[in-house]
């Protein structure tokens, strides 16, 4: 290659400058007579919100062949500590689809194939992998996209293109409220769960109890806090202290110490297992403090109990659960899951997160089956909105969906740490709004 002469460069620059001017002219024009309110989400203006009319969704069959239904998902599988989620949920989903493909020949004669894009838990990478799945691989739907910020990055794209966005793996409220017809949530949302925890405190502790919160400094923690506040409303019990932490931090020594200094009577925590373990361990072992502790269901994993210390420090800690824990080995659903993982799991272990993966896969299969032989994007959404009283093999409560309710799991139970596992107790708490 020779060095280019200056003349050409001037030309390129001129051309570029011309484009630039054009760009300025366009964008200002766009703002002058555009929609006026730039903040208004485009989704709302496009999707007709009246009634059951799904006709705006084309009867698109991208990804459907005579023998196959091709679906995609975005999950963190590497380069992030969140890879812990992806690397367990994905095998659970894949194993169940493989099981259905093998034993039942798939759904209505079509085998389900799941492609997973590794987004490293970075929203911009989510954008890339989802576009690749949609535009290049031609998937029919996105299933169980994980992460709040990650999914937000593609939410609008999926909505505008009317691509079924099924059962997002996050408890954030923004995907299901307000309703976007093509998007369905899966996890119970953190506000509902927080409300249940708040109600539990209001019912079981005397008036004047001082509640201390420990929350992760993001939407997960903030939604939980909102929920707890709403549950406590009118009970005469208030949150007196709120401590936050960043997800990179797993040592809660300082936060627990400050809660102790604030002299709280009960601790409610929106923490991940690592931080929950550190919270319990520090309170019980270092500070010798037997304050009641209630943690979010996100930490309802045996590992939390192990991390809390081997001297039974977690004993009596309360959490919520919405799926049967793997520790209940006598449960038929769990037994079946362990069998499926052994046969189709490709060496991955059966864990609470692989149970989660299977439960999402079960719901997906149910919806595809209901959509019938002539499956397309419109009738899949219709089928999803008609799910009633569906009880997956590992679920605690039934799932109900409707045109006005896109929240899948809204029923959960309280659980208490006994020995090395969580034991369900009390009645099921349901926020189900679909009749």
């Amino acid at each position: 290659m020779k060095l280019p002469n200056v003349g050409l460069f001037r030309l390129v620059l001129l051309l570029a400058a011309a484009m630039m001017v054009l760009a300025i002219a366009c964008s200002s024009d766009d703002d002058d007579d555009g929609d006026g309110e730039p903040t208004e989400p485009a989704a709302e203006t496009e999707a007709p919100s009246d009634g059951d009319d799904l006709s705006f969704i084309p009867e698109d069959t991208t990804g459907i062949t005579d023998t196959e239904i091709l679906i995609g998902s975005h999950m963190p599988l590497s380069e992030s500590s969140a890879a812990i989620f992806g690397t367990q949920i994905v095998p659970g989903m894949q194993a169940y689809f493989a099981y259905i493909n093998e034993t039942e020949g798939g759904v209505n004669g079509r085998k389900i194939r799941l492609l997973v894009g590794d987004d490293h838990y970075l929203p911009s990478d989510t954008n890339t992998v989802v576009r690749k799945l949609v535009e290049q691989d031609g998937v029919f739907a996105i299933v169980s996209g994980l992460g709040t910020a990650q999914h937000t990055a593609v939410f609008e794209y999926l909505t505008e293109n009317n691509i079924p966005d099924l059962f997002t793996a996050t408890g954030a409220t923004l995907f299901t409220d307000p309703i976007t017809r093509t998007t369905f949530g899966y996890n119970p949302n953190y506000v509902q769960e927080g409300n249940a925890i708040g109600t539990y405190i209001a019912e079981n502790f005397p008036e004047g109890t001082r509640v201390g919160l420990l929350i992760q400094n993001d939407d997960f923690g903030n939604d939980g806090k909102d929920g707890i506040e709403s549950g406590l409303e009118g009970s005469g019990i208030t949150i007196t202290t709120t401590e936050t932490y960043e997800a990179v931090n797993s040592d809660m020594t300082a936060q627990v110490q400050r809660l102790r200094n604030a002299d709280v009577d009960v601790i409610a925590a929106y923490t991940l297992p690592l931080q929950s373990g550190s919270l319990i361990n520090n309170a019980r072992s270092t500070l010798d403090w037997d304050v009641p502790i209630i943690i979010s269901g996100v930490s309802a994993d045996p590992i939390t109990i192990l991390l809390a210390g081997d001297a039974g420090q977690a004993e009596g800690v309360i959490t919520t659960a919405y799926l049967t824990p793997t520790s209940q080995t006598e449960h038929p659903g769990i037994q079946k899951h362990i069998e499926i993982m052994a046969e189709y799991g490709g060496g991955a272990d059966a864990t609470n997160l692989s149970v989660y993966g299977q439960s999402v896969a079960e719901l997906t299969v149910k919806v595809f089956r209901d959509a019938g032989q002539d499956i397309n994007r419109r009738n899949v959404i219709a089928a999803a909105e008609q799910v009633r009283d569906f009880l997956c093999s590992v679920c605690l409560g039934t799932i109900n969906l409707s045109p006005t309710d896109h929240r899948s799991i809204e029923t959960f139970s309280f659980a208490i740490a006994e020995g090395d596992s969580w034991v369900l107790f009390g009645d099921l708490v349901s926020y189900e709004s679909t009749p």
Partner: protein, 382 residues
């Protein structure tokens, strides 16, 4: 010369390539075999993001490659640019170009402000200090005091970019093509500007600085001024890149700029080639396309899924060993090849020569296979 014209034409017509059936099926078949991702509308989007990263990486290369200052927190500048743009677009009726210009100026100012105290820091100390900036950035964005503008951990969701109806543009291009041009035009301009800058007096001063601060001083280069200038220029690039990032992604959040991403910026410019515009281009290509290609390669070899990141790691190490000056350095070396030298190389590549080269490897020497022993009378060496 002809190469540049072809490249220009390619960039100009690329978004329409996939609408031409013959070219489209060619691009798709390339994708299918290599995992690249250049075909279809997805290919256009990939190329658009390439433009975004090109601006950012060109800026980082000015700082690290030319002036020799290592920044591990470059993502923080990108975030600053992205947030300035997003906030302006979200909360005011600022036109895009003005918002990006504001981002450029604002970020350059931040770069200058950080560059001045950083003057005293060198090498790993500077690297870790900049790492501190990217580590604390998410917490800043989520802080109560600023969350009114930054929308806290939820992030700012912008409406997706639509092709304007002005001049009937929407009859010629769809949204993805519009996005492509609105990114690629500034990206090309900024790359050319960087290329000119590095050949100017300023560029030479940067290089002198990198090679020896004392030497540069003796040449009459104002060391503090130029070091800070490098910071500011590179931050300006990051600001523009961040603005384009916000526009193309139509979403920014504190999670959008991870620590590892900032480190990866550095990795790709080293792999592309430091102190080279071609290196920055290669870095951007690597940054955008490596995921797909690595995945495909690992698939072909039959690598277990969980080991794919290791596959990438091995690749990094091999590239560093084979091409210590980055791929651009390798290209430079290949360019100087004359037929005679090629013949010579081929002649040298006889098996015996290869073996002796292998035996020269430190590992071989360690294992007692090295040629050092051939004449070494000191066999008693422990």
């Amino acid at each position: 010369m002809i190469g540049w014209v072809l490249l220009g034409l390619f960039l100009l017509f690329f978004p329409y390539l996939h609408t031409w059936p013959a070219a489209s099926s060619f691009l798709d078949s390339v994708d299918n075999t290599t995992g690249l991702g250049i075909g279809g509308t997805f290919g256009v989007f990939q190329m658009t993001t390439l433009g975004v990263w090109l601006v950012i990486l060109t800026g980082l290369n000015i700082l690290t490659g030319y002036s020799g200052q290592i920044s591990l927190g470059h993502g923080a500048f990108v975030a600053a640019g992205a947030y300035i743009t997003a906030i302006l677009l979200d909360q005011t009726a600022t036109p895009l170009v003005v918002a990006i210009l504001a981002a450029a100026i604002g970020t350059a100012a931040i770069g200058f402000a950080i560059g001045i105290p950083s003057l005293r820091l060198t090498g790993p100390y500077l690297a870790i200090a900049t790492l501190a900036i990217i580590v604390s950035m998410p917490q800043f964005l989520k802080w109560d005091k600023v969350s009114e503008w930054t929308k806290g951990s939820t992030g700012i969701d912008l409406p997706s970019a639509d092709v304007p109806t002005f001049l009937g543009l929407d009859r010629f291009m769809d949204d993805s093509q519009w996005l492509y041009y609105s990114v690629m035009v500034p990206a090309v301009i900024m790359t050319v500007l960087a290329w000119n800058l590095t050949r100017s007096r300023i560029g030479r001063a940067f290089i002198a600085l990198r090679d020896s601060e004392i030497g540069a001083q003796q040449m009459g280069v104002n060391v503090s001024l130029y070091k800070t200038l490098a910071f500011a220029i590179s931050a300006l690039y990051a600001g523009v890149g961040g603005g384009l990032f916000a526009y193309t992604q139509d979403f920014v959040s504190p999670d959008s700029f991870g620590i590892f991403q900032s480190i990866e910026f550095l990795v790709v410019i080293v792999i592309g080639g430091l102190a080279s515009t071609l290196g920055s281009v290669l870095a951007a290509i690597f940054f955008v396309y490596q995921d797909g290609v690595v995945l495909r390669l690992a698939e072909l070899i039959g690598f277990p899924e969980r080991l794919r990141w290791a596959f990438f790691g091995v690749g990094l190490i091999l590239i560093m060993i084979v091409a210590p000056n980055g791929v651009a350095g390798l290209v430079q070396r290949l360019k100087t090849l004359r037929p005679a030298t090629v013949l010579e190389m081929l002649r040298q590549a006889r098996p015996s020569a290869m073996i002796s080269r292998l035996r020269n490897h430190p590992l071989a020497e360690r294992l007692g296979l090295g040629r050092r022993d051939e004449h070494d009378p000191g066999d008693e060496e422990s």
